[in-house]
């Protein structure tokens, strides 16, 4: 699905060879500052590499329109912004941005359940905790139903139990719907439990990539 060859980005990344398999759960692990987030941003053209080639479904990223790509390969950053307004507004805004048809309330509640957010759709987001906001942002991404998810530490603001529960849900969803999931995680345990494929990074290089 993603194929990387000789990719460099400033002095942050230098990757000779990397393959991210289709319809699998890939975890990217490594110390902070090892280039995990930068790599993720390359996948949906939030940034572009200084050299080398990245292929998505055998097509060079250079030939894919950035916005089209981002609607297929949706990224959730480590500190996603929550927009002013209600929970419903925040869930629907992704669909509006991606110019997709809006979802009915049933569907929105289903998503909230999936991310363990026991809240009403009309509730204001202003007083939500960091962990709740993170789950809401995750729900917003799931609602977009893209081909591929790029999740950057999707559970960093959660306690360990909730973290496990949420990641399990996303993994189940991805498998059931034949999605590709690429997740940066600090938790080696989560990677060992859920990943089909693990990529380990250090100092901007991939030091190992293996199937589990």
């Amino acid at each position: 699905m993603f194929f990387i060859k000789n990719v460099r980005y400033k002095s942050i990344l230098d990757i000779e060879n990397l393959i991210i398999p289709d319809h699998k759960i890939t975890c990217i692990v490594g110390e902070s500052g090892s280039g995990k987030t930068t790599l993720l941003k390359l996948f949906n053209k939030m940034i572009s590499s200084d050299g080398g080639e990245i292929l998505y479904n055998e097509q060079s990223l250079a030939n894919i329109n950035a916005i089209t790509l981002r609607r297929k390969v949706v990224m959730l950053s480590q500190n996603p912004s929550i927009f002013k307004g209600s929970i419903r507004d925040n869930l629907l805004i992704g669909l509006k941005f991606a110019e997709k048809s809006l979802a009915a309330d049933d569907k929105l509640y289903e998503i909230l359940k999936m991310v363990h957010l026991n809240k009403g759709l009309d509730e204001d987001t202003e007083n939500m905790s960091g962990g709740e906001k993170q789950r809401l942002a995750l729900g917003r991404v799931l609602l977009l139903d893209p081909e591929c998810f790029l999740l950057d530490e999707p559970s960093s603001a959660l306690d360990e139990d909730t973290e496990h529960l949420i990641i399990e849900k996303i993994v189940q969803y991805s498998k059931a719907n034949n999605k590709t999931l690429i997740m940066v995680t600090h938790s080696k345990k989560a990677a060992d439990t859920f990943a089909d494929y693990i990529v380990e990074m250090r100092n901007g290089r991939v030091i190992s990539q293996r199937e589990v």
Partner: protein, 262 residues
């Protein structure tokens, strides 16, 4: 109508008492502003005297070339002033957009005002063209300066929100809409607010000038209403052009955020 009181030199000189008063206050209080006060008083005097003589010359010999030249100088000066006044570092693309928006926004509203609203003949009559241009350009300059600051500050402050939107598949335009709308709103707000107080809180300069020179207050008010609406149009047009083009300078062709020079 009474004849206008022509000020004698000694009367003019008497007005400088106000400057002496200010100088006295700052010196007494130890506020270090004397130099600026003297320089600005001096500049104001010299600039206005020169302008007065230039206007006398232009009014006596109306010439489309000179009228256009004056407008051009005003535009250049205002663009230079905006770029100097804004504290943020401006990319060269943004500077070009400021110049473009000022020139297109103000000349469009100016031509509409001169040709349709006032219907001046000949169109280049400097007695109308120059003061009206000065008001439209001056106000557009203030508006766009605010717009530039708000747009740049907003792009930096809302960077995370914009990035989140892009990651969800938003176009650059959709991702910046709150920032662009906010910049536009704050740029036109002073003009809207000034209309609210007009006639009650203060009598605007142009109207005061016309009344002092013997024009009937009713005529002065007609002009004032028209010019106020012209200013509103000129500010709105200039600022919308600027924000609509300006946000694009923060993106490259791959719809990626680029913050040059910072």
């Amino acid at each position: 109508m009474d004849k206008v009181v022509d000020l004698q030199i000694w009367q003019m000189a008497a007005a400088y008492v106000f400057v002496l008063l200010l100088l006295f206050i700052v010196r007494r209080r130890g506020i270090n502003r004397e130099k600026e006060i003297i320089i600005s008083t001096f500049r104001m005097t010299i600039q206005l005297i020169l302008t007065g003589y230039i206007l006398v010359y232009l009014f006596e010999k109306p010439n489309p070339f000179f009228t256009i030249l004056v407008i051009l100088i005003m535009e250049i000066f205002s663009i230079y002033n905006i770029i100097k006044r804004v504290k943020e570092k401006l990319s060269s693309r943004l500077k070009k957009i400021i110049a473009f928006s000022m020139i297109i926004g103000t000349t469009t509203s100016l031509l509409f005002f001169i040709l349709i609203v006032v219907n001046v003949s000949p169109w280049y009559d400097p007695r109308y063209f120059i003061p009206i241009a000065g008001m439209l350009i001056g106000n557009a300059m203030t508006g766009i300066s605010l717009g530039v600051t708000k747009l740049i500050d907003g792009m930096y402050a809302q960077r995370n929100l914009i990035e989140t939107s892009l990651m969800l598949g938003a176009t650059p335009e959709a991702s910046c809409k709150p920032v662009v709308d906010g910049a536009f709103d704050s740029a036109i707000l002073p003009t809207i607010n000034s209309m609210v107080g007009m006639g009650i809180v203060f009598l605007p300069g142009m109207m005061t000038g016309q009344i002092l020179s013997g024009t009937s207050p009713v005529t002065a008010i007609e002009y004032q209403i028209a010019i106020m609406l012209g200013i509103l149009g000129s500010v709105a047009l200039t600022v919308i052009l600027f924000v609509q083009l300006g946000y694009k300078t923060f993106f490259n062709s791959e719809s990626q955020l680029v913050f040059a020079d910072k």
